[in-house]
C-alpha cells in the first residue's frame, strides 16, 4: 500500500510527460501535437507540486492561529508552479494562433502533408 502511496503521483507526472512525448513524436495532427505539449506541461507541474509536498501538512497560509510554522508544506514549488502554469498558457495561446495561420495557408493540419519545409 505504501508503495502505491509513495509512487502514485510520480507515476502520474512521469506518465503524463511520456504520453505527451509520444503524442508529439508519433501523431501527425497539429492540434494533437499542441495538446501533447500541454500534457508535458501538466506533468512537469505535478512533479513540482509533489516535490514540495510533505505528508500530513497543510498549505502555507497562516490565516488562522491553528496553523504553525512546523505544520506547513514547502511554499517555493507552489510559487514555481504558478509561474510555470502562466508560461504554459502563453505558449499554448501562441501555438494555437500560429496553427490557425498554418491552416489558412495549407488548408490542412496534417504535418506530413505540409510540404513547404521538411518536418
Amino acid at each position: 500500500m505504501s508503495l502505491i502511496y509513495n509512487w502514485m503521483y510520480y507515476i502520474a507526472s512521469g506518465g503524463l510527460i511520456l504520453i505527451g512525448m509520444y503524442i508529439i513524436l508519433v501523431k501527425t495532427n497539429l492540434i494533437k501535437i499542441i495538446i501533447g505539449l500541454n500534457f508535458i506541461d501538466t506533468g512537469v507541474n505535478i512533479l513540482l507540486v509533489c516535490i514540495g509536498y510533505v505528508k500530513g501538512r497543510t498549505a502555507p497560509i497562516f490565516s488562522t492561529s491553528r496553523i504553525n510554522p512546523t505544520n506547513v508544506v514547502d511554499p517555493v514549488p507552489q510559487a514555481l508552479v504558478l509561474t510555470a502554469i502562466v508560461i504554459g498558457v502563453a505558449v499554448l495561446a501562441l501555438a494555437l494562433s500560429i496553427a490557425i495561420k498554418v491552416y489558412e495557408h495549407n488548408k490542412t493540419l496534417n504535418v506530413t502533408k505540409i510540404r513547404g519545409l521538411k518536418w
Partner: protein
C-alpha cells in the same frame, strides 16, 4: 511510420528509465525543506503577508513574477501580431459573418447580464485578498477574463475597445516595473518591499504586495480578454 513509432518508443523508454532512477532519489512526502524554512519562519515578519506563497511569489522571488507577467504580455502581443489582418479585409469578413451568426438564446443573454458584474466582483476579491487567502493576481485575472468570455458568448456581435485594453495592459505593466524601480531608489534594491508592512492578516498590510497584485490582476484579466478577442477573429 513504423520506424518512427519504434524510435519514439525507444526514446520514451530511455526517458522512463531516467524518471525511475531520479524519482526514486526524491522521497515522496518527506520533509526536504531547505531554503524555504527561512520563508516559513520569517515570511510574515518580513513581508507582512500571511499567505507565504504570495510572499514568495511577489517578494522573495518577485523577479520571476515580473518575468511571468512579461511572458503573458508577449503572448498577447505575439497573438495580435500573428493574427493581425488589415482593417479593410476585416470589415468584409465580419459582414458575411453577421448573416450566419445567430443571436444567443434569451437564457444565456439574461444569465450573463446578471452574472457578469458578480464575476468581475469575485475576480477583484480574489486579487485584492491575494496576501490573505489562497489566490492572487493571476487567478483573479483569469476569473475576470472568464467573465468577458461569457459576454462574448452571449453577445457575439459586440466587441470590446482594443485600444483601452492595450492602455490598461501597458499601464499596469509599467506600475509593476515602476514599483521595482521605486524600490531601487528608496532602499537600494530592485523590487524591494519599501512600504510599511502594517498588521498581518488585515487588508491593508504587506506593503507593495497588494498594489502589485491589483496591477497584475488588471493586466492578466485584460490580456486574456484580448487573447480571446484575437482568437475569435475580430482583429483590431
Amino acid at each position: 511510420m513504423r520506424t518512427r513509432k519504434i524510435i519514439s518508443i525507444i526514446i520514451l523508454l530511455i526517458l522512463a528509465g531516467g524518471f525511475i532512477l531520479t524519482f526514486s532519489q526524491i522521497p515522496f512526502g518527506k520533509d526536504k525543506i531547505n531554503v524555504a524554512h527561512y520563508y516559513i519562519s520569517k515570511g510574515i515578519e518580513e513581508t507582512g503577508a500571511v499567505n507565504i506563497v504570495t510572499s514568495v511569489v511577489l517578494n522573495y522571488r518577485g523577479f520571476d513574477t515580473l518575468g511571468e507577467v512579461t511572458v503573458l504580455f508577449i503572448a498577447a502581443i505575439g497573438l495580435g501580431a500573428v493574427l493581425f489582418t488589415e482593417k479593410r479585409v476585416q470589415k468584409h469578413a465580419s459582414k458575411s459573418k453577421d448573416d450566419k451568426t445567430k443571436k444567443a438564446s434569451l437564457i444565456l443573454r439574461t444569465g450573463s447580464n446578471l452574472l457578469f458584474p458578480l464575476i468581475l466582483l469575485f475576480g477583484a476579491y480574489i486579487f485584492v485578498h491575494g496576501h490573505l487567502t489562497p489566490g492572487g493576481g493571476f487567478q483573479g485575472g483569469a476569473v475576470i477574463a472568464s467573465g468577458f468570455l461569457l459576454m462574448y458568448l452571449a453577445f457575439p456581435k459586440q466587441s470590446i475597445n482594443k485600444k483601452s485594453l492595450s492602455v490598461v495592459e501597458s499601464l499596469s505593466g509599467l506600475i509593476f516595473v515602476g514599483i521595482g524601480l521605486f524600490g531601487l531608489i528608496f532602499s537600494g534594491y530592485f523590487l524591494s518591499n519599501f512600504l510599511p508592512k502594517g498588521i498581518p492578516n488585515t487588508l491593508f498590510s504587506a506593503g507593495i504586495i497588494p498594489i502589485i497584485y491589483i496591477a497584475v490582476g488588471f493586466k492578466v484579466g485584460f490580456e486574456l480578454t484580448s487573447v480571446i478577442d484575437d482568437l475569435l477573429g475580430r482583429g483590431k
